[in-house]
């Protein structure tokens, strides 16, 4: 009886999962078919393995350039955010100065504000006054800044859980504040670094709104922007468009298969704590 119930639950869940994955499955099969075949029979399996749609999508989206830009932005944002965020988190956790708690409080208070509040003035200041449009570094800088409060919050909380005796022992051995951070604290931060990295990396990789405000030239576009441009500016190339969408997903899926455990934890822990 109990076994039967479990079997029913299993097949029901499996059925829901297949429905859930339906859009992806339909997407995949149609990237191998000509557009006319997709419109006529969207559910039919492809009759032959053709990659024309992919080569067209790669050309139209300037895929490799977009991919490299996205990697540059994501990797740099994550690294800079990690270094600065963990250092500040360490400072705030260990030095209970008034100025530190004021800054920390301000960081937290402004975390509530949605990006829409910043976008118009940001365009004015950075694209307008400073003329920094189409500058990957600007996008990295802004992404680091927007993600800093959250990172500092998590690093500070985690550092407070590391016994101060460890710091003191290092101090006796002649380590300065900075060296203690580098030799003692930083290696212990590994689990929280993974969490923050996953959260920030996915957010930056998938970001459209912020980067699209500054990156408009073809050679500076990220994947999300390149896909958006391809799908709005071309008409009736449906199958190549779907191939483009799939190309946009593949890099993340590859990551997901490797580190799904950390990714699920990171994404959820990140927003529940934040």
């Amino acid at each position: 009886m109990k076994k039967l119930k479990k079997a029913i639950v299993f097949f029901l869940t499996l059925f829901v999962l297949i429905l859930f994955m339906g859009p992806f499955l339909i997407l995949i099969i149609n990237t191998f078919k000509p557009t006319a075949a997709f419109i006529k029979t969207p559910f039919a399996l492809p009759t032959k393995f053709m990659l024309d749609n992919y080569s067209l999508a790669i050309k139209r989206m300037n895929f490799w350039v977009a991919m490299i830009n996205t990697v540059i932005i994501t990797v740099n944002t994550v690294l800079i955010n990690m270094v600065i965020g963990s250092m500040t988190g360490y400072l705030f956790a260990r030095k209970k100065w008034k100025i530190n708690s004021i800054i920390f409080g301000m960081f937290l208070a402004f975390m509530v504000a949605p990006f829409q509040v910043y976008m118009i003035p940001m365009v004015q200041i950075y694209a307008g006054t400073f003329g920094l449009s189409n500058n990957l570094f600007l996008v990295i800088y802004i992404a680091v800044g927007l993600n800093l409060p959250f990172a500092v919050f998590l690093y500070k909380g985690f550092t407070e859980g590391i016994p101060t005796q460890l710091d003191e022992a290092a101090r006796i051995d002649g380590c300065s504040f900075g060296l203690t951070y580098l030799r003692i604290v930083l290696p212990l931060l590994k689990p929280i670094i993974v969490t923050v990295t996953v959260f920030v990396a996915l957010g930056v990789w998938n970001d459209y709104l912020m980067s699209s405000l500054f990156l408009t030239k073809s050679q500076d576009k990220t994947l999300a922007i390149a896909i958006k441009t391809f799908l709005t500016n071309h008409s009736a190339e449906y199958s190549p468009m779907m191939a483009g969408l799939l190309l946009g997903i593949l890099p993340i899926i590859a990551f997901y298969l490797f580190g799904q455990k950390y990714i699920i934890e990171g994404v959820v822990a990140g927003s529940v704590k934040g």
Binding site: T13, M21, K228, V267
Partner: protein, 296 residues
Amino acid sequence: MMRRDFRKRFGDILCFAGFGLPALVIWISVVLIPFIFGIWITLTDWNGLAMQIHFVGFENFHDVFSDPTMGTSFIKTVIYAFFTVIASNIMGILLALAVTSGIKGQNLFRIGFFTPNIIGGIILGYIWRFIFLYAFTAVGKGLEIEWMKTSWLTHPTRALIALIIVSSWQLSGYLMVIYIAGLTSVPKDLIDAAYADGASALQIVSTVKLPLIRNSIAICIFLSISRAFMSFDMNLSLTAGGPYKSTELIAYKIYQTAFTSMEFGKGQAQAIVFFVIVAIISLLQVYFTRKGVDEQ
């Protein structure tokens, strides 16, 4: 003594300069200055291009509150959020219950249901756009179902429903993970005791499991409310506010005012109003989830 004091102070300043200043400088330039500058923009008639900028006082805010399209956009967002929150939370709980019921391949199910959350909203919206435009209509034509023959995205109410479906589809896998964490912390002996007393599976869910995860429920409800209110990417790619501007949710509306109509002052005023709404939701969230923790 004086000398040592001075040296300590100097050391502290160096310490702050090295560890705190970089973050502070970046944050001030990326968050604080745009925020303050943004408030100034709301008081002007700036369109982003004009050389002459006039001070107009609170006129932009007056425009926001007297603009009927802003009101419609707000109501649409509330309706969208309401149904998305309910649908995604019910789905999330059901998926979490199924995945923690001891069936085979639990982890694979978890990975599968979570997948939409690692992909950007722009891409997800476009995938579903193809589904709604061609796959659904093909089913409708094949099975002679009247309301599925034409695309949902060309019909105002159905386009909003489409948006709700896709958002709930994405969000439910996300909420599922939080609910799983709640459910796995329910003590096993409580469930065994209920079984021993002859409770059915349904009774165990409703009288043991659900009351014990009410903290997770509170977290998930607020999380989904704020996610729904901030929804932008999917709105842009799935419906692009259409048909006839019928699905312009607040975040999208602000974007349109600012970068399509080029009304920076008005757009920024809308953004500030939006900020206040989101801030209120967050404060309620802090209030209610803290209270939940205290009760336990």
